[in-house]
Symmetry: C2
Subunit: 252 residues, 2 copies
């Protein structure tokens, strides 16, 4: 092998949610590439180069990472959360598909991480305790017709639905459209969780219903979870509340 | 608060896939409860009690954990992977729902972990790079009719499908039945990944198609991933192969 390319998941934010394997992969790299907010979390060691780029440039970043690794460097590409979920690992394999020879002799590895929906679920209770799905609302990468179809079928299947990339400056209205589609299938009282900046100092988690969800603010750092018909609030005797989905459909 | 109850994800197996927060939560506990194969991964510190039970006893374990915590102990309940995905976190909140007063004064936390599908995906490439769902095939906890309906709708939605608990000694035939259902919607050449014991010394990953999937062995330590119509193999110039799903549906 000429060089190494490791696509690394940095988790949702806090250092103590980064696996030791991910920490080691970053520490062992000669050069680290990634979207600026993720690269900015790192402190370079002596002799290590950190290189940030924009989040619209994922394929170009993947191609550059392969090129650097093929030249014999140890390269890490960092993603927030898990690099395999709507993130850089797929971009690297897309670059390999486009130019198979660019991966020749490169030892390519993926280091998994805690993806946003797991961290958000942990903070609010256990909403992902039963069958669930994850849908990215970014329509840079797929048609709105596909998103609409998947939302409808996911609601009919009674999955808990985790919505990644629910809104951006360019498309603030899509999450409202998504709720409109879900309301055609799901009752108004379906539980919806808005988890913002989980694990960061400005973390904020709100629980509402599908009827009230359209009024909630949301941005690219928000993870939205729409409950199944079994998802419910649970309250302790002393008045603290959580959201969970029972493991069994027999819990009523 | 009287005591602490932390439900901790130990990841798929290797120590370097356990988050520092999870390691700390286990180290800080007076007593650690869990299914034997997970508890057996731990080395107790002096004065710490480890207590194993069977995997059919999740609700009883949750109730005992709450009782111990309410008496002032620091309790950790451990799960493999992430504790919020088909695991102990939902069991604990189910116990709270059954007996709200049992949680009074107990500081309940969930420490997320790397769930099996993320580790399996990392090993084989990036099959979860686009929209996906996770379905547990265990019919202890739901009817087969529900499983059948979800499989059909997930295939119609063109999700990548991660199947947890695909088989056990009591129900070795269910995974074949699941493939039969999927074949009614998906073409024979749909990619299927069998990831066994990911991260363990006996790890084994096989890639096949839906037509050939019925012949593959599988047990409770296997995670099965059925590709979407966009999931494909990618091969480097020097002949190594991975499986990935492009981030964009426009990659053809």
């Amino acid at each position: 092998m000429n060089g190494q390319l490791t696509i690394v998941g940095l988790g949702p934010g806090p250092k103590d949610w980064i696996t030791p394997a991910a920490t080691e992969a970053v520490a062992g790299a000669d050069i680290v590439l990634g979207y600026a907010p993720y690269v900015n979390r790192l402190t370079p060691r002596v002799g290590q180069v950190l290189e940030s780029s924009d989040n619209r440039e994922e394929l170009a970043r993947a191609e550059r990472a392969l090129e650097l690794a093929a030249s014999g460097r140890r390269v890490a590409v960092v993603s927030g959360g898990d690099p395999g979920v709507f993130a850089m690992a797929a971009a690297v394999y897309e670059a390999v598909e486009k130019n198979p020879a660019s991966a020749d002799g490169v030892d390519i590895r993926v280091e998994p991480g805690v993806t946003a929906m797991l961290a958000a679920a942990a903070r609010i209770g256990a909403p992902l305790g039963h069958d669930f799905c994850a849908i990215s609302l970014s329509d840079n990468l797929k048609s709105w017709a596909t998103i609409e179809k998947r939302l409808r079928l996911a609601a009919e299947a009674d999955f808990v639905i985790a919505l990644y990339n629910p809104a951006s400056k360019a498309r603030p209205q899509q999450i409202s459209q998504a709720f409109d589609i879900l309301r055609r299938v799901l009752p108004d009282e379906t539980i919806v969780v808005f988890a913002r900046a989980v694990g960061r100092p400005d973390e904020e988690i709100d629980v509402t219903t599908l009827a009230g969800a359209g009024d909630m603010a949301c941005d690219m750092r928000t993870l939205v979870m729409v409950g199944s018909q079994a998802t419910r609030k649970v309250t302790s005797g002393d008045g603290r509340a959580w959201v969970y989905t029972p493991r069994s459909e027999r819990v009523r």
